[in-house]
Symmetry: C2
Subunit: 457 residues, 2 copies
Amino acid sequence: MQKAIAYARERRVTYLDQFRDWLRIPSISALPEHGADCVRAAQWLAGHLREIGLPRVEVIPSQRNHPLVYAEHARDANAPTVLFYGHYDVQPVDPLELWTTPPFEPAQRGDRLYARGASDDKGQVFAAVKAIEAMIATHELPVNVKLLVEGQEESGGEEIHAYVPRHRKKLAADCALVLDSGFFAAGVPAITVGLRGILYTEIEIQGPKSDLHSGVYGGAVPNPFHEMVRVLALLHDKSNRVRLPGFYRAVREPSEEELRMWRALPGSDADLRAEVGAEGLTLEDGRTSLECRWSRPTLEIHGVGGGFSGAGGKTVLPAKALAKVSMRLVPDQKPEAIFKSLDRFVRRQVRPAYRVDVRKLSTGRPWVVSSEEPAVRAAAQAWTVAYGAEAKFIRVGGSVPIVDVFKNTLRLPVIVTGFGMPDDNLHAPNEKVELPAMWDGVDAVIRFFHEFARTRR
Amino acid sequence: MQKAIAYARERRVTYLDQFRDWLRIPSISALPEHGADCVRAAQWLAGHLREIGLPRVEVIPSQRNHPLVYAEHARDANAPTVLFYGHYDVQPVDPLELWTTPPFEPAQRGDRLYARGASDDKGQVFAAVKAIEAMIATHELPVNVKLLVEGQEESGGEEIHAYVPRHRKKLAADCALVLDSGFFAAGVPAITVGLRGILYTEIEIQGPKSDLHSGVYGGAVPNPFHEMVRVLALLHDKSNRVRLPGFYRAVREPSEEELRMWRALPGSDADLRAEVGAEGLTLEDGRTSLECRWSRPTLEIHGVGGGFSGAGGKTVLPAKALAKVSMRLVPDQKPEAIFKSLDRFVRRQVRPAYRVDVRKLSTGRPWVVSSEEPAVRAAAQAWTVAYGAEAKFIRVGGSVPIVDVFKNTLRLPVIVTGFGMPDDNLHAPNEKVELPAMWDGVDAVIRFFHEFARTRR
């Protein structure tokens, strides 16, 4: 292990040049005009994996120019197998004018490298690749390794969701390492042991068949916005709890141990309030903000389309109102059951003067893993040593649907971690990676492979 | 009078050619790129008024390329004076693809002439101009006449609202004839004796200082849409009444006589429901749709901006929600008092985790005139004879703020009428005017001038 770590440390200058080359490819998966760039980024990665000695590398053709990259290196049939996951696609870069340096011209300022994808997720994939390179070169690879790197994480992920269930055998492993998360705070490395699920819906209410003059018709013709706000307002009670029947029935509370760990983490509710710049927080009674964000389900209204909301005044009685509403789900809520409850509740509430439709746009199940799981413990150990600070077990309020697929389709314990920092500006201008964290990340991955191999002996 | 009527009738072919020329000018006041066209339309009208013998014609320069056209013809100091009002500007034409023939290439199909502005309001102004031409040519003009035609009716009307109070003496008259309304239904000519006022506002609620990830922050950070729908939902009760304190305090009920007239008008609530294609109506308990649209105040939500409402799903916890809300007001509600009530109510309701702002965008007072008013009776008589059917006294639920200015600034009885038909497609594709109604409108204006002169003798 030490040889591999030393090997990688000696080559950081070269590695940085390679990393910059990859970052220059604008692999924005949400924008069809960058389809060819996504393919180039996939090919760059595949070529690089071949160069560092992986015997089997595939670029799996994609309908939408977002190919998966698959590679493997078999050590021996008795060694355990790690399935590594990351993504090479990146978020769009708007608003471009807020970037200090162009998003696809990587620029180092101090210890930071600024570029779109530097942290999310090319930097994390690159660190894993360099760790594997060093272990192969020094004959210190203690496990069989499979890599599955997608190019559509930022725009739906249909390709990988279709691919994994059809390739269970090929992807068979003993654990999955998902490097697309990060630190709890600067100086606090972390292993993510829970993610919320999601149920994204839209609710459409219609009054008249077309937009009407609000002077001529107002007061007699049903305005769908009136019904929409009435129904949406019924979805929360005064304590910020969701009022859908059965919504909390399957909610599993975190353990006392977990709550204790969360309370010991740095930062307070007041810090959160200051960070987001709000006048207050909307917590459930008696719960901290971390509890509310990590272990409680939510219902969020994202916006309501229809009618007029531009500058000035337009006197329209709108034909339709269309609300975007999503729910974050926690174990053991089931998206299908929650959707049924929403659908029934909304339909029952909407009065006969209106037409209503409730549509499910996407779902992802919540996920948790025990911090006692050997693979998770191995990761915590590796991260603690590599970063010189105790890795904490945290959850994340967002949703990473592929984690549930690895768990439930491939039946794997999943490790979700990484070295992203809360201020890395993911999905925002001036995304950056902390280079020391990235180099320590190479060490951390090498250490994890060895720790994990040890647990399996 | 008969000579003037005959004079105009003989010249319809010529008049139609002239009218088409005016309709070809795309005087869309809402679109700055049509500023030069608005000026051209004003100059066309001014030139035409000079040609038909009005001795004093002015195009009053405008900051925003929407000049007023003023003209007068003095008969003698003892004759009464009629101030005529209309507008030469027109609505935008989108969606263009729904027009059968181009909006600025007038096309006759049967008795109908299709063009933007054919009915609203060039056709009505043109009919009045032709009536005046015929009375001048036949020496049968029984009144002094002043014309004030604006070019900004469809986009705010600031010019005329600034002009009238500064030119009270110049505009002094005995009544104002506003030709920008129409029939109650095909075959039912009408005099409009009431208009609702308007108070247009926007309500802005802010949670965090910028949009956030709804997974990472949802459940702890205030979502302004949640507060917005809660507050907006409080603005109506179950009987579709507005819940603002004092909202109905100053509301004057229509007279029994007026209600009886409304009940005798053709059409039913079921007809309205079918016309607008809704599943039902939202009437106040015990009131008909005409009562609700003509004599009851309303509060309408036009739309709510902010967050995300596009295609697909975006997991944003929005920083802001901005609702467009207007109220239609009836006598004797005062826009300022109602705004105060709204402002106070909303500020009191919004909880401390949110910032709120309530802004007044525009106001217009409600207006009614007695059907016993001599000028109104004269118009009813003229319309009844010209159209061969009894003119009804109706109200309109919309707002025409200039009418209140004529009433309260110039202290004039105002006649609001015209020959627009409910199916003229105002503000919509395929606007048309019924040519027989326009020609009868020329007769009607001639008859009105004579009837009105008679009432003043």
